[in-house]
Symmetry: C4
Subunit: 375 residues, 4 copies
């Protein structure tokens, strides 16, 4: 009790080392796509810096012999206070891609949000997740029937919620990818959900297997619609009974509009610094959003979490749970399913220890009393 035992780790423990190892094993353009951000990438770094400005203040002699890592989100108990964030086109990182991630996550009871831009069809990934919570992330297509089809397929496949990403109606100015002239979707990667979709296929003269160029062209036309407005949310609600979360909210006014729109939850996020260059650090946006919604909807968070202490800070500032992105992908790149699992095992061990050392036995006790603003 109280002392850990461990064998020699198969992969780096420190996330910075894991990222370095991923950079070594990946082709340059795949690494850049994963690790890079928009424009000057200062938002990506601001995300990290924001965590250092909040400091945890532990309490002692409170009996933390038993720690409970579970949280309740949307009326459901998650065994961990985080889910894996939706990250598209994981085939550029490892051939087993989202399936490897799903298997690793499911084996540890960790929930997952699957990207629309998955390398495998959503039905197949859902099967790999089994009973462990899995949600579907929607890049809201400009083609309404396709949007409806995605929703129906996700619901039928057993996904528990729809996460609508608001901040990516077009890809940002990503200088690394532009320099590399790299956009994997143009090589038909990450389009499994489109290529297997009956609505999408019906709009093609020839199946994608025969004419991939035409299929990619159609994809690029239907991928999104920057003309959508709050009124259009009604369309989504008409086509699914699943709870809907809006991902990318940073402004308190948008958070209030989301409450007015009756969504089940919002995710405070700047897409890991990959979309609006110069955007506010996601953690810096969190307190005002939490205050704005005043408990009327569930607030989740992502962008910048690398270790357990980051997660505690986000929860202490009002997030019910968080999403973890790039870190698990470094594990995937380095060692596939086993690499993801090992990263997750490490993160869970760190989380259990950190929660306990903060003097809290469960995340219900993690609130503003746990931290102070840094100097």
């Amino acid at each position: 009790m109280g002392i850990y035992a461990t064998g020699r780790p198969r992969q780096p423990i420190a996330i910075e080392e894991l990222e370095r190892q991923a950079r070594e094993v990946l082709p340059r353009e795949a690494y850049d796509y994963l690790a890079g951000g928009a424009g000057s990438e200062d938002t990506m770094w601001a995300n990290r810096a924001a965590f250092q400005r909040w400091r945890l203040v532990p309490r002692f002699l409170r009996n933390v012999a038993q720690r409970d890592l579970s949280v309740e989100v949307l009326g459901q108990r998650l065994s961990t206070p985080f889910l894996l964030a939706p990250i598209g086109v994981q085939s550029i990182l490892h051939k087993e891609a989202e399936l490897a991630v799903a298997r690793a996550a499911a084996s540890l009871g960790v929930g997952m949000v699957l990207s629309t831009l998955s390398s495998f069809p959503l039905e197949q990934v859902a099967e790999a997740m089994g009973n462990v919570p899995h949600w579907f992330q929607l890049y809201w297509p400009g083609h309404p029937e396709l949007a409806a089809s995605f929703l129906h397929r996700a619901e039928r496949a057993g996904f528990g919620a729809i996460v609508v990403t608001l901040d990516t109606y077009f890809l940002s100015w990503r200088e690394r990818d532009l320099q590399n002239a790299y956009l994997p979707f143009l090589q038909a990667q990450g389009l499994a959900n489109y290529f297997t979709d009956p609505v999408f296929r019906a709009a093609l003269a020839a199946p994608p297997e025969k004419d991939p160029v035409a299929a990619v062209t159609l994809f690029s036309r239907v991928y999104s619609n920057p003309g959508l407005t709050w009124a259009d949310l009604a369309f989504l609600r008409q086509h699914t009974r699943l709870p809907i979360l809006l991902k990318g909210i940073l402004d308190p006014d948008d958070a209030r509009r989301a409450v007015d729109a009756g969504v089940a939850g919002i995710i405070v996020s700047n897409h890991g610094g990959r979309q609006l260059d110069g955007a506010i650090a996601a953690l810096d946006a969190l307190p005002a959003v939490v205050e704005a919604v005043a408990g009327q909807t569930t607030v989740l968070f992502d962008s910048g979490i690398r270790r357990a202490a980051d997660l505690l800070k986000a929860v202490a500032l009002g997030a019910r749970a968080v999403l973890l992105g790039r870190p698990y992908c470094y594990g995937l790149a380095v060692n596939g399913e086993a690499g993801v699992r090992e990263f997750l095992q490490n993160f869970l061990a760190d989380l259990d220890l950190t929660l306990g050392l903060a003097g809290r036995a469960s995340f219900a006790e993690v609130n503003r009393d746990c931290l102070v603003p840094g100097p």
Copy 2:
């Protein structure tokens, strides 16, 4: 829609890379002249740091399918919210110098402010600009007839405004140039407007082509007059009907004096950190100046803008439009007209995406609601 396509870029996308490439192709002293600043260069770096202290807060679901990059300045609609800043003696960067820049700018509808210290006569550059807005920057000569001559020539050549630079009545203590013992004007570079001027030529015993040393000497005597005062502005107004803007304002009291003097506009600028060492970052000076003029004159801005997000921040803080300086010169150094054009195309693409991803469809919507102070 929503996905960009791009060929492999001919030159670096990231401005830092473009600058690095310019450093490689340029002679050391030319690069230092362009990239350097006054004294310790801390003002130059303060200019950049100031942008990171303001953070954009995007809005969503607002219909940004159509974006409009145009702005109205001095009663005229510019197709872009920026003009190219006046930078002298571009012949040290590329033999086509200001002509290459003008052609690139004009081909994209981007306005330009031509420096008094141009390598080509203002008439020739004006011709290259065609109908695209072009203004003339005046280093206010100590010799009144020469000043009047410059104004008349600019007006006759079709320049749309006069930008009077206030902050360069003498060159600052630029340590790189002093160490390099480099001042291109002394080699008769950048003096085309003087050498072609009838007033200037009349003051010489022999034409500059015959006796360049005497011509350079005369230039150094008439270049400026640090004894000028606000009262002297009347002289300029008497000699041109063009709108006059004062460039270099940083103090709110000077801004109010400019309003009292009835100028058409002011440009908040510290000359890219090239003049007063230790000066306030231009962006830090902007809000107080905007407040001081209270809408009674047009406020433009330059100093430190490198990417679209910077431009949005300056406009959000009250600038009607901005000027872009060193970045286009790096393009010029690397690849002449094509290099400038490619830089501008990139900047415009970044601008269009960034405006849209901020959830704004035009710069009329870009105001203080778009940002929050950083932590």
Copy 3:
């Protein structure tokens, strides 16, 4: 008078150099164990940064010809305003370990706090300390009889106080050690107090000398009890008449609970950044804790002190005395007893000069008037 004389030093004066030399002489995993911190190690660095944000303001012409470095703590006068912090398993640094440290400290009249995880039995270290103040640090065992035995042994051996470490009921997520797969206790190092304890030995089937694996296993089971609460402090008080200090307090509410519990003192500390990743810098926590206890208990401090100026700042902010940790261990690693002594001599000389140059003749004059917050 007023000028120091010194021979060429045998070991580096600057602590950073001394640490560098320790890194050279130590096995990688021993150095990492000593120098590393929890998780991202940002708490460890925050500890250091916190000192730079307070600035000393010296006074002059106050007669500091005689300086007095002594302080009164728990009714006893210490000849120096610091004690050596409890650091376990020093055998990984030097074979003479805690004995070398005790001899060096005692020779200079410097007090010491011995770790439960000592490489030599507490009785032997106490003997080496002689009449110089020495306290016993308790990792409060989950096995009550063992806890009682430690207390009785410490009291019998002449230790003057019990320092109960609150923040280490389990070891934190230390990435360096995990990467090195290094935990010296598992190789039976640092367990002398356990292996010589009658209660501990009685719980074993075979003595530790015969079956070290079983002994280590027992140790890992009895090392701590994360289920302890404030109510359990009564047990400690029942088993010793020595004053009890609680080490690791960072939250003002915990400080008030400590006052209510009637302990003799508290030590504001985050265990040198080795336990809760993301924790508040210890110095940043000090003022609020000092205010909370309002003089009702003695406040000591550790975490991050490297030079005399740091110590002055901690005392000025309300600490009665401080504990010094890693620095003396670098001396131990480099040169054993002599290395510790030389470090201490340097620190004492620095302290005497710094106190005098601050214009104070004793630590009774070191208070909030001595410093201002940095900008």
Copy 4:
């Protein structure tokens, strides 16, 4: 007018480069003695950082055709707003030492403060200064008759003021010097004023030329007296009619005591970060001191000035003039008298341009309106 002409400089323009060159030409221990600071040297760096937190705000169109660099100090007009700071034992930098410095300074009309620890007798340096202002810095000896003798000699030699250094009654913990085991005074360097003093010589059994060890020993005994108090200032006033300035004041209360003591001026200084490790940056201490004395005594400043902009900031914050230290010594090390002169010429040129570009024609116009706090 308005354009500078320059030949290729003989030595680096940028002070950082000049320092680098000095490091190359000097023996390691001499460079370390000059460039180093106390303890962690963070005060030395804090001195520099403090300047960046104040930003100059230039004004325009104010007629700065004629600039006046002179200032009035103690009823005397100095042709420059700075004097050379007292720096001892310059023989370790160049064999002509203080004489070279005096000649360079005098040739440009720049005032100088000579250190007690001069390598040449004060009479000889005074002669080199001629009519250019020169003051004598006093390390107040513990031996009263020696103190009186120094005062009388300085007065007789034509020094215009006495600068009493308060902060060096003993040398601080300077880790570089300790590591190098270097203290030049112990090799009888920098002791010319002592060895030529009749009182000092009378106290020796043999003249210093015969028994330098005994002379150095006496020096180390009489160098200072840390027991002095404010009351002892009367002694100094009794032995000289020269104005007395106190150097090293950082606390407003000490400043008020200085006013009460009726001294002619104070110098806000932390001895360039060479004495109290962790001390407040001198510039950060300046505003409160200026406010405390409320014009009742003259306030000068040193510690950290490297370029003209720094000087403007110090004057804007209330210093009547400043002292420049290490920079001229780098010039001395690199090229003797010519090296000092070239540094000073550069500094003066920078100063003239910077004053003008700030829109001020004289230092009488340099006040709080010239700057704003940085962000």
